[in-house]
Each structure stands twice: as structure tokens, then as C-alpha cells.
């Protein structure tokens, strides 16, 4: 049998599938449930210093090949969020805390607070494509990525994983900057800048007009990002974007990812998706002659 365990910057995972930030992770109850349904870890909703309502509805639109969203980073604020992490921990979950802020200091303050809740790592959402002043522009300036990462690293003891935006010319440059800033790993990719229009109403489909595209549509964009990043940095990479099967996950693993995150596929496959993808990966790995996940990481670079 293939050993599905993997490890990222010292964080041990029972399998390489993680819940992506923004899906069923605003509350501890849901995070616990996702973990129990089979995820190797759960990443929290991106949490900021204050409660935030997000954008008005419509915030989520189903497209042919993915999901378009502009939820606008709703979150209960890092103080209240302690209860949610506690509840997730009570259900046994391995939790990674995703944070954002308006500047490096705010990121650091939220991360510092979050790290006291016992999360195993901090994910820095440097890449939300539709909330002005909150991460968007940050992720598009490589030196900011370095500085933010450094500032957060200085105040937390757990590993720090900046999450990068694909809405740039060369994502590997940003990964290098994150590594220079002391990042322990990279998460790639967040959603792509996109828009849908409802012609019958002559207007954009989202209340916020602009949104981020996720799901099958972006898989090949994410695989390329991970492949590029892995050519350039020495820290582990977590792949995310359009993964909906064990085969999809293996594309990312062979491109160089140590683990993967799954979001939009919950829609088509339900919460069983984590377990099912793990099984599918094990089957395909075995067929390809691998005994463990680490053996397969990056083999497509050969």
C-alpha cells in the first residue's frame, strides 16, 4: 500500500489533501467536520484584525468551468475566531491559520494572535484579487512579499506559508521574494481576476463586479505556477487550484507540490472529496510504482 503521509516544513499530515481557505472554514464546527471527513489539514478562512462583513450578494456565481466569487473577506476578526479554532481542535483537526491585514504590522499582529491558538502554521493571504488594499496589491510587489513575510516570521514560531497570486507576470519572482523573507513554504495559487456579465440584465453578475475565478478552469494555470516556483525555490510548495480528483492532485505533486488544497471541488463531490482524492492518489501512485507521496514530488521536472 502507498503511504499517503506527507510533511511540509515540519507539519505532519496524514494525507496530502488540505481544505483551501475560504471554504467551510468560517466556523469551527465546519472545520471539524471537514477534517473528520478526511482532509489532512484545514486552512481557516482568512482572518483579519476586525470583524468584516464582506461584500453584498451576489457574491458567488457558478460558471461553466469554475466558480467566480467576490465574498470580500468576511470574517469574525481574529479575537472572536479563537472560539472557532478551539472548536476545530476539539474535533481533532490539524488547523492552519490564514491571515490578512492592511499592512505588514497588521499581518504580524493577526498572525501572532492566531499562533497563540495552537495552529500548526500560518498562511499569509497575500493574494485576494478582489478586496482593495487587502493583500491584492501586496502580492503584486515582490519586495512587499519579502517584507511582509519577514515581519510575520519575526513574531511567530510556527511555519509561515505565503499564498501567492497568479495575477502577475512571473509568479516565481514572488516565490523567491517570499523565500528571501524567510517563508517556510509557499501556497499557490489563489483565484484569477475575472468577471462574468449577465447579458439579460446588462450588468456584471457579482455585486462587486470583479471577482476571483477558481475550479477546473484554473488547474493548468496553477500547475504551471507550481512547476515554475519549484524550479526557483528550495522551500516546499502547496498546490491549489482546480483540484477535483486524485489525478489532478498528482499533476500538482509531480509539478513539485508536497501537498494540495481543495476548495471548489467540494461543490461537485461533497465533503467526501478529501477521502476519495486520497484513495485515487494512492491507486495512481501504486500503478506508477511509487510507495509514498514524497517519491512522486517533482518527478515531472526530470
Amino acid at each position: 500500500m502507498v503511504d499517503l503521509r506527507t510533511e511540509i516544513a515540519g507539519v505532519a499530515l496524514r494525507n496530502p489533501t488540505m481544505l483551501a481557505s475560504g471554504f467551510l472554514d468560517e466556523t469551527g464546527g465546519s472545520m471539524g467536520r471537514v477534517y473528520q471527513a478526511g482532509a489532512g489539514a484545514v486552512v481557516t478562512k482568512s482572518v483579519g484584525p476586525q470583524p468584516r462583513e464582506g461584500y453584498p450578494n451576489p457574491t458567488i456565481v457558478e460558471l461553466d468551468a469554475g466558480l467566480l466569487n467576490a465574498v470580500g473577506l468576511p470574517n469574525p476578526g481574529v479575537i472572536e475566531y479563537e472560539h472557532e479554532v478551539k472548536r476545530a481542535h476539539a474535533a481533532g483537526a490539524v488547523v492552519i491559520g490564514s491571515v490578512f491585514g492592511k499592512d505588514a504590522e497588521e499581518y504580524a499582529a493577526v498572525a501572532a494572535k492566531m499562533s497563540t491558538y495552537g495552529v500548526k502554521a500560518i498562511e499569509l493571504n497575500l493574494s485576494c484579487p478582489h478586496a482593495k488594499g487587502l493583500g491584492t496589491e501586496i502580492a503584486q510587489d515582490a519586495s512587499a512579499v519579502r517584507d511582509f513575510t519577514r515581519t510575520v516570521k519575526d513574531v511567530v514560531d510556527v511555519p509561515v506559508f505565503p499564498k501567492l497570486s497568479p495575477n502577475v507576470q512571473d509568479i516565481a519572482t514572488f516565490a523567491i521574494a517570499a523565500e528571501e523573507g524567510g517563508a517556510d513554504g509557499i501556497v499557490a495559487i489563489n483565484t484569477l481576476k475575472a468577471m462574468a456579465i449577465t447579458p439579460e440584465l446588462k450588468m456584471p453578475s457579482l455585486a462587486n463586479k470583479y471577482g476571483g475565478l477558481s475550479g477546473p478552469a484554473i488547474r493548468s494555470i496553477g500547475v504551471r505556477a507550481v512547476y515554475d516556483i519549484c524550479d526557483k525555490v528550495h522551500i516546499p510548495v502547496i498546490g491549489v487550484g482546480g483540484i477535483g480528483s486524485g489525478r489532478d492532485a498528482l499533476e500538482y505533486i509531480m509539478a513539485g507540490a508536497c501537498a494540495v488544497q481543495i476548495g471548489t471541488a467540494i461543490l461537485s463531490r461533497g465533503l467526501g472529496v478529501f477521502n476519495e482524492i486520497s484513495k485515487e492518489m494512492a491507486f495512481l501512485l501504486e500503478e506508477a510504482g511509487f510507495h509514498s507521496v514524497p517519491e512522486a514530488i517533482g518527478v515531472a521536472h526530470a
Binding site: 475560504g22 471554504f23 467551510l24 472554514d25 468560517e26 466556523t27 464546527g29 465546519s30 471539524g32 467536520r33 478562512k45 470583524p51 468584516r52 462583513e53 464582506g54 453584498p56 450578494n57 451576489p58 457574491t59 458567488i60 456565481v61 457558478e62 460558471l63 461553466d64 466558480l67 465574498v71 468576511p74 470574517n75 469574525p76 476578526g77 472572536e80 472560539h83 474535533a91 462574468a196 449577465t198 439579460e200 440584465l201 450588468m203 453578475s205 455585486a207 476548495g263 471548489t264 467540494i266 461543490l267 461533497g270
Partner: protein, 258 residues
């Protein structure tokens, strides 16, 4: 194909001083208790129960906040967006059913009341409202079975809250099942008294929703999602709930008193 269908409103019917029904044709199914996400262009997208399930669908909306108020000004020919149907279904589980509705909660139940009656069950409805003018779908319920009325001000029927009326009905008659929809405090009372009497109960909950499809966590109730695990929950599920009757989530996801 987009999941959202843009449909012109065919007919708008005033049901009460604060409540209107909007009829439209849409290429979607729908069973009793299910809801749609309704896009009111330029205002909001909101969950609304299907109050009519036939070829010409209907939703029945209380003029409550900004978006529903804006909708109240729509006229026939204006367009809304709809997607769904979402959520689970009221299930018929016995030969005699008590339906307990509060205010616009009747909108979520009326399709079940009619369907259960058509399936041969005896359906007794206890309909409550602030006053006689605000009573919703009394005629439709009447055509499907017996109707009892409660108003807060006593302007019609029983003077008091509908759970008290329901309790009297449960006391004097035998029901194999209770279904309920209305303000959460009211449903809390109904679930409580049905369970005390050992009658299975299903309640349709309302929570703030964004996606309606089980991914955003906005509608979390304990470790369940109202949009996909509900909106209809059983008395057993609700008895175990820490949130039901006590807490809801605000738009930021904070757990606040219900």
C-alpha cells in the same frame, strides 16, 4: 450554461400589507420546502422558499429590509435572477400532520401543506400572525385541510402566539407529525412542545446565506449547513443543537444571539 436564470415577473400579487407573491416561469424543479437564491438586481441575492411549485413558480416575500423593499416596487415584466432549487424537502411521515406557521413562514410550508393533503394525509394548519391582515395563505391552507388561526392582537382567531395554539391542538387531537416554519423563537417553542409530546417534528430554519450551495459556511448551524443539510431539520437534530434558538451567525461569521 449559467446556473442563474433571468426571468421576467409574470404577476405580482399582494398577499398582506407587507407581503407579496411574485410569479415567474423558470426551468427548474422544486419540492415542498425547497428554496431558490433570488437575485434582486442592484440590491441583493436572497434565499426565498418556493411558495408555488407548478409550471409558474412563485416566491412570497415580506417587505423586510432594503432588498425586499426594493423588490416590492418591481412590476410585471421586471426581471429577477433565480438559481436552485436548493435545500432538502419536507417529508410526509404519517397520516395526520400539524403545520405550524408564523408570519411569512407560511410561504415555506404552503407547498408541503398542499402536497401532503394531495398525498392523502389529513393536514391541520395553525397559522399565526401579528394581526388578521398579516395572515398568509389561509385560503390555500383551508383548501388543503382544517385551519386554525392565532393573532398576537386577537384580531382574528386565538388571541396569542401560535405555539400556544399548536399546543392546544396537539392536546386535543392526535398528530403523527408536526412541521413548522416561522420566527426561530416560535419554532423553538414548537419543536420543544412537539418533542415533549413525542410527535416527530420538522422545522425549516432561516440563516444568512451567501452561496446556497454548501461552500461558504455563512449559514453554519453547529457543524451543519442550513443551505445543504437543511433548511429543514428534525426535532432530534435540533435538540442536539447548541445554536438553534440561541445563536445565529452575522454577515462576518460572528456567533451572535439569535
Amino acid at each position: 450554461m449559467p446556473r442563474i436564470q433571468v426571468v421576467p415577473l409574470l404577476e405580482i400579487v399582494r398577499e398582506t400589507p407587507t407581503t407579496m407573491t411574485y410569479r415567474f416561469r423558470a426551468d427548474l424543479g422544486g419540492q415542498p420546502g425547497q428554496f431558490l437564491m433570488v437575485w434582486i438586481p442592484r440590491y441583493d441575492e436572497l434565499p426565498m422558499a418556493l411558495s408555488y411549485l407548478g409550471a409558474v413558480k412563485g416566491i412570497t416575500v415580506r417587505d423586510y429590509g432594503d432588498a425586499t423593499h426594493a423588490l416590492a416596487a418591481f412590476t410585471a415584466g421586471d426581471r429577477i435572477g433565480v438559481r436552485g432549487p436548493y435545500g432538502n424537502v419536507f417529508r410526509l411521515e404519517g397520516q395526520s400532520v400539524l403545520a405550524v406557521g408564523g408570519g411569512s413562514g407560511m410561504a415555506s410550508m404552503i407547498a408541503a401543506i398542499e402536497a401532503f393533503s394531495q398525498q392523502g394525509a389529513r393536514v391541520v394548519t395553525a397559522a399565526g400572525a401579528k394581526n388578521s391582515e398579516e395572515l398568509l395563505f389561509v385560503e390555500r391552507a383551508n383548501a388543503a385541510g382544517e385551519v386554525h388561526i392565532a393573532t398576537d392582537d386577537g384580531s382574528r382567531g386565538f388571541h396569542g402566539f401560535v405555539p400556544a395554539l399548536a399546543d392546544k391542538l396537539l392536546a386535543r387531537d392526535t398528530f403523527q407529525q408536526v412541521i413548522t416554519c416561522g420566527p426561530e423563537k416560535m419554532m423553538y417553542a414548537v419543536v420543544d412542545l412537539a418533542r415533549k409530546r413525542g410527535v416527530p417534528v420538522q422545522a425549516s430554519l432561516e440563516r444568512y446565506m451567501k452561496c446556497g450551495i454548501g461552500i461558504c459556511d455563512a449559514c453554519a448551524l453547529d457543524d451543519k449547513l442550513v443551505c445543504v443539510d437543511g433548511s429543514i431539520f428534525t426535532g432530534e437534530e435540533l435538540a442536539e443543537s447548541e445554536d438553534f434558538g440561541h445563536f445565529r451567525r452575522d454577515k462576518s461569521g460572528r456567533r451572535v444571539p439569535a
